[in-house]
Symmetry: C2
Subunit: 132 residues, 2 copies
């Protein structure tokens, strides 16, 4: 039984191999993720982890920890607040905000921070909760 305020988190360091693997399976081979020389000439100065790959860490917490297996993703909003560079260590935290009384549906605040504590992604997720 989930109550408002329940929270779970997970931390991962995103490697060059992760980024190349995600480029391969998603088809997103934008050079900002893959090409050092191109990235050096952008406002970011170096290659970035795909935003959707970073947000996969939120999905991992939701799908395996809170609410966990049996839940069904209904909606996710993702605000990309700051760049994530190759090698950054990201912590995704999900916190239950609202649990509907009429249906097993809950809204979670979803945040990713880098190791400096800076918010790189925030937003909300809505999930159908597992029912036994």
């Amino acid at each position: 039984m989930i109550v408002a305020g329940d929270s779970a988190s997970r931390t991962k360091t995103f490697s060059d191999e992760d980024v190349r693997s995600f480029a391969n399976i998603s088809g997103d081979n934008n050079p900002i993720h893959l090409d050092d020389e191109y990235a050096a000439g952008t406002q970011f100065g170096q290659r970035l982890v795909h935003g959707i790959l970073t947000s996969g860490l939120i999905s991992a917490v939701l799908g395996t920890q809170l609410p966990g297996p049996g839940s069904v993703y209904i909606k996710q909003t993702i605000n990309f607040r700051a760049p994530v560079y190759i090698g950054d260590t990201i912590t995704a935290t999900v916190t239950a905000k609202k649990i509907r009384e009429d249906k097993p549906i809950a809204t979670f605040e979803t945040v990713c921070k880098n190791e400096a504590g800076k918010v790189v992604i925030n937003g909300e997720a809505v999930l159908l909760l597992p029912t036994e």
Copy 2:
């Protein structure tokens, strides 16, 4: 120069290997994605492609086609409307809806459909456009 109505799309068939690879790099090893026996006992009856992996196809169109390299992701909303099964062929389409006049920021409608034409994901993306 992007104008409202501009559209781009991309199609991909999501394989078991894609799903296992995404589970590995995201850490989302929810059994609904990986375990045939578990999945058979759920409302879906079979394993699902991770929703965030499917939405990576939207990110691929935005990052490589429209608006393409040099654009910066500001926001993505994702409504998960129907399940995506292993082996489904998904087409992601992005369509420019609003281009701001004061800043190089555009809003795109983002939709994924399966091969039967059913909407599996819809939502909106906001991006900072490349400026020369």
